[in-house]
C-alpha cells in the first residue's frame, strides 16, 4: 500500500484500485484541492479504472468534498472507468441522502462488496 501526501492511500485488489481517504476531517479548500490532484493522478494513470473510494477513516466532511466527488466521477467516466464508494459513516451517509447524491453514486457497505460489484456487472 502506498501513502500519498498522507491524504490518500492506494491499494490494488483483484482488478480494482482502492483509494482510501486517510484524513478524519476534510474541510478546507486546500485539503479538497490536494485530494483532487492526488485522486485524479491515480485515475489518469489507469484508463478504464475500477475505482473504489473508501471512506472508512472519514468522520466529517464539507459540501466541498461532495463537489470533489462529482468532479472525480466525471473524470473516471471520461477515462471509461467505473466508480464505487464504500464504508461511509452513518452521519456522512445522511449528507449524501439529503443532497440526493445517493442517486448519483453507487454506494456499498465495504470494500469487498464494492470490488465484487465490478465483476458482477460484466
Amino acid at each position: 500500500m502506498a501513502a500519498i501526501q498522507p491524504r490518500i492511500s492506494v491499494e490494488y485488489k483483484d482488478e480494482a484500485t482502492i483509494v482510501a481517504f486517510t484524513d478524519e476531517k476534510i474541510l478546507e479548500e486546500t485539503d479538497v484541492r490536494a485530494l483532487r490532484e492526488a485522486v485524479e493522478s491515480v485515475v489518469e494513470q489507469a484508463p478504464g479504472i475500477h475505482l473504489v473510494l473508501d471512506f472508512r477513516h472519514v468522520k466529517f466532511l464539507s459540501s466541498a468534498v461532495l463537489g470533489l466527488l462529482i468532479r472525480i466521477s466525471k473524470r473516471v467516466y471520461e477515462h471509461e472507468g467505473e466508480l464505487r464508494l464504500c464504508n461511509i459513516h452513518p452521519g456522512i451517509h445522511e449528507v449524501f441522502k439529503i443532497t440526493r447524491l445517493t442517486s448519483v453514486f453507487e454506494i456499498y457497505e465495504d470494500v469487498e462488496s464494492a470490488t465484487r460489484s465490478f465483476s458482477e456487472r460484466r
Binding site: L27, F60, R71, T99
Partner: protein
Amino acid sequence: MAAESPVKCTLVVESQPSALNRPCRQILSALDARGFTQDDIFAVHLALEEAFLNAVKHGNKMDASKKVRIEYCVDAEKVEICITDEGEGFDPGTIPDPRVGENLYRPEGRGLLLISSYMHDVKYTEGGTCMRMVRYKGRPIGEPDKASVH
C-alpha cells in the same frame, strides 16, 4: 454534570477558512458541556463550516480587508449562531435547488441546503449578509414545521 448557564460570545475574524478553527472549537465545546448529542454537534459543526465558508468566499470574496462576525449563544435547550459578512448580500430564493435535474451533477451549491437541513431555523437578514441559525438540543432534523429557510 452538564453546564446549565448560557454562554454568549461575539468574535470578529479574518476572511480566511482557517479563521473558523478557534470559534468552532469554542462552540462545539459549549455544546458538549451542555449535553448536546453527537448528532447535534455534527449538525452544528457542518452548518457552521458551510455558513462561514459562504461568508468568506461568496460574501467577502476572500478580501483580506473584510471581516466576518460570529455571534453565538448556547443554553441548555438550543444553540443560536449569527454569521455576518461585509459583502453585498444575496437573495437565498435565487439559489437553485442542487437536488433537481442537472444541478445534481454540478460540483457547487449544496452548502445552503445542508445548513437548512441540519438547523431547525434559518433566517437571512441585512440583505442576506447575516445568517441566523438555530438548532434545538436532541431534536431530530427534518421536522416539517422547523426545518425551513425564511
